[in-house]
Symmetry: C2
Subunit: 485 residues, 2 copies
């Protein structure tokens, strides 16, 4: 169980060097004032925007995501960095709870205590494939770690290596301009599984942030737990995002809802962690018309290529696995020609509630433009289907606006399994704001009480400390109200 | 890896039954109003106090902790239940963040979002041996889970079985009186390791709270992580609680500080999770006088018997292991007669900083009345010793009141490894208040960002959910402002 690594080990010297830089920078950056941290976050946002045209061109070449989407994503990434900067200025990392001393014997009597927050230390940050800006080098994990006062060791995703290098070079320039050590944002330009395991096992890494596949994430989570001294691992691993279509949602016809849903399923070629992969529909005439309309609309969609050839293979394999399950009907199959292309055709499957509930193979994510329709008999069976899912980033409810006992039960069940519950709309698209929650019970997140999108994401990288009987200088130094750095 | 259990399995039918009760009660209790939850917490406090004399007598028979201590602990437990009740009334479990919709395109444009908190669900709660009231059936874990709206499955500690049964019977009576289902506080009267593993693996258990030994805790943590869908595990596992004696603390002589420290080391026969087990002293004349005075005072202490024979054996084995390490000097040995008694004699060991840093065997807790003195050359070496500890519930600093660079470095290092940093005083005795933090980096806690003492402990059992575009009834139902239950 003692898998922490020595400070240097030849095959991973590059990683050890990056960790050493981040570790060395932690003392300075962890003690830096709010003004220093927020200036860094704003400087990174400005630099991204200044180089936007060039960066988007590289990103498009590497990911096929297209100019419009990539420009929007870069804007979101800059918005997010500035949003964290504003909140750092407002003291989000410096929340403090004071309990004055109370004379007398315990339990009522007590010493003076002040609860402050300290940064965890260097964070190993694993970039995602599907958001080359927003969940990559300067994405939400990096922004929230920097806001908390943690240095970051960026592990880029092999799906966009050149973009990652460019964005890191840009970050390094901003650090130099602002007189901060380069180790505040260290970079590991190495992609093997063994290298990743080495990184999360390094004694000087204090936390891990990961967005990616279930298998890759679980492997790193296990490696992190096998350390002599385990550390927090924040993994966002996979989610099937149930969308419940109640009969009330179809009273104005099936065409518009089907088109809305088809667009969400195929957005970004289905490579969104919040892509709706499970559609719960009542087993009645309207439900069947809706399923048909959905299949029809999906068949006309032409998604762009997937991010990597590996992911395309993974999608074909996952959809074939679902298609092969007993009791599953293929509503929309891949045509032979589409199977050969880099851009996969959308798929749609259908099954009944009992089959779904009994077969865990149907509860797993198909990452790409595919969904499984589950036909339910009634509202009680809808609850059973959701309960079988167990964990998801989102649940979307269509037609549940009215205050009825059935809708209350549905909303309660949805909240039991998901981090975000939508009343109407589609789950793709995650707003960056204070109220956001992007996380949920396993397998959505390894730490379901945390979020990787929105400003509460900073909490992952802060640890509370109670200072007992502390002199004022000690409280001030930690609570970040000091202006010096 | 699929170790979740079927709903019934003969050898553990008793456990399955308790989980089924808690699971069935969760829907009702999780949706109960603040008034219902706070009335329950207050009712439990009242009932404990009403039966205090009888309960303390049983506890003393089973634990040897003595009337004074046990009466104080019962008072603390009732105080804690009432403190959670007050905070439930004030809305601690119902914090809500609202982000109004912003028209326009993302990233600035966004839907309406409200962040609320939902209870995790049934909590498997493992009682500790050393606080038969405050960390047992109705202790802090139960109180905070109930405050969060979670039902609890209590696993009593075998060190005080009769007391546990009595306190549970009392709780069951309060539940009946208040018209709540008995499963709100379910009880598992079975103690084997296999039974415990079965309990944490049960599909209907949503979280685990554990206070106890490192080995037992890690075994259950691993079992929890081996579930098909892992769940949060809050374990408080062990801590050596460094206490740093700076030369400034000894300027008025060594006798008083030595007596204060000796009392803390032997309090409760050293069976406190915050017992100071590592004493860092400068290697100079005053430091040596202090070490001598400490050994002398300790030799006069007569601790009561340890909680169980197993724990006594564990203490003898842990201290013998430390005594056998190269470079360790025995400052105070057990006399032959003490070794035979149920009450162990205090032990004191001494080593130098380099020996300590290099030998991980010296970083582990000796649960009982023992401490290891580490002699340091200077302040820099003090930081190295603390860094080698890595994780602890507390660090205590004596003589670090002045605002100097050395004290700032010491305070920063102490905060990096501990959840509570004391300036003066002793770490035994943990105030129940809002600012408290009882937790720290591994091995102190499996989830170092949470606390098991103080009112922030409730956060362990709540999960944020973002409600998007939700009708008012859905927000009200979850945020607990509804008065109906």
């Amino acid at each position: 169980m003692q898998t922490e690594n020595p400070v240097t080990s030849a095959p991973f010297a590059h990683i050890d060097e990056a960790v050493a830089l981040a570790h060395a920078a932690q003392a300075t950056y962890g003690a830096a004032s709010r003004a220093v941290r927020s200036a860094l976050l704003r400087g990174l946002a400005d630099a991204l925007e200044r180089d936007a045209a060039q960066l988007v061109a590289i990103a498009d070449k590497e990911t096929s995501l297209g100019d419009a989407r990539l420009n929007g994503e870069l804007a979101r990434t800059a918005f997010q960095l500035r949003g964290f900067a504003e909140r750092v200025d407002a003291g989000i990392a410096n929340l403090q709870v004071d309990d004055a001393a109370v004379p007398g014997a315990p339990p009522a009597g007590r010493p003076q205590l002040t609860r402050v927050h300290v940064p965890l230390g260097p964070v190993a940050m694993f970039s995602a494939s599907n958001f080359p800006f927003a969940f990559s080098v300067l994405g939400g994990d990096t922004a929230s770690a920097l806001a908390a006062g943690c240095t970051v060791i960026v592990k880029p995703h092999p799906g966009h290596p050149e973009l990652s290098r460019r964005v890191h070079a840009l970050a390094a320039r901003v650090l130099r301009e602002q007189g901060l050590p380069e180790g505040v944002i260290a970079f590991v330009d190495q992609a093997s599984r063994e290298a990743a395991v080495h990184l999360v096992g390094h004694a000087d890494v204090a936390a891990v942030a990961f967005t990616g596949s279930y298998q890759g994430g679980v492997a790193l989570w296990r490696a992190t737990n096998a350390r002599r001294r385990p550390i927090p691992f924040y993994g966002e691993l996979g989610s099937i995002n149930p969308l419940v279509v109640l009969p009330q949602a179809l009273t104005d016809g099936v065409e518009t809802p089907a088109a809305t849903l088809a667009a969400s399923i195929t957005m970004g070629c289905g490579q969104f962690c919040t892509s709706p992969g499970l559609i719960v529909v009542h087993d009645d005439a309207d439900g069947d018309r809706f399923a048909q309309a959905l299949a029809q609309t999906l068949s006309t969609q032409k998604p762009h290529a997937m991010l990597t050839a590996d992911m395309h293979r993974g999608f074909e394999s996952a959809t074939a696995h679902v298609a092969a399950q007993a009791g599953v009907r293929v509503r929309l199959a891949a045509s032979a020609e589409n199977d050969e292309a880099a851009a996969p055709a959308p798929r749609l499957f259908e099954t009944d509630a009992q089959t779904f509930i009994a077969n865990a193979a149907l509860h797993e994510e198909m990452f790409g433009p595919a969904a499984l329709i589950v036909k339910v008999r009634d509202e009680a069976q809808t609850l059973d289907v959701l309960s079988a899912v167990e964990g998801s980033l989102t649940v979307t409810l269509w037609g549940a606006q009215a205050d009825t006992a059935a809708n209350r039960a549905l909303a309660a069940t949805a909240q039991r399994i998901a981090g975000r519950v939508l009343f109407g709309s589609v789950p793709t698209g995650v707003a960056v704001c204070d109220a956001q929650q992007h996380g949920g019970p396993w397998p959505a997140s390894t730490q379901p009480q945390t979020t990787s999108v929105g400003y509460a994401a900073i909490e992952r990288f802060l640890r509370p400390v109670a200072l007992q009987g502390a002199p004022q200088w000690a409280i001030t130094a930690t609570s970040g109200t000091a202006t010096a750095e």
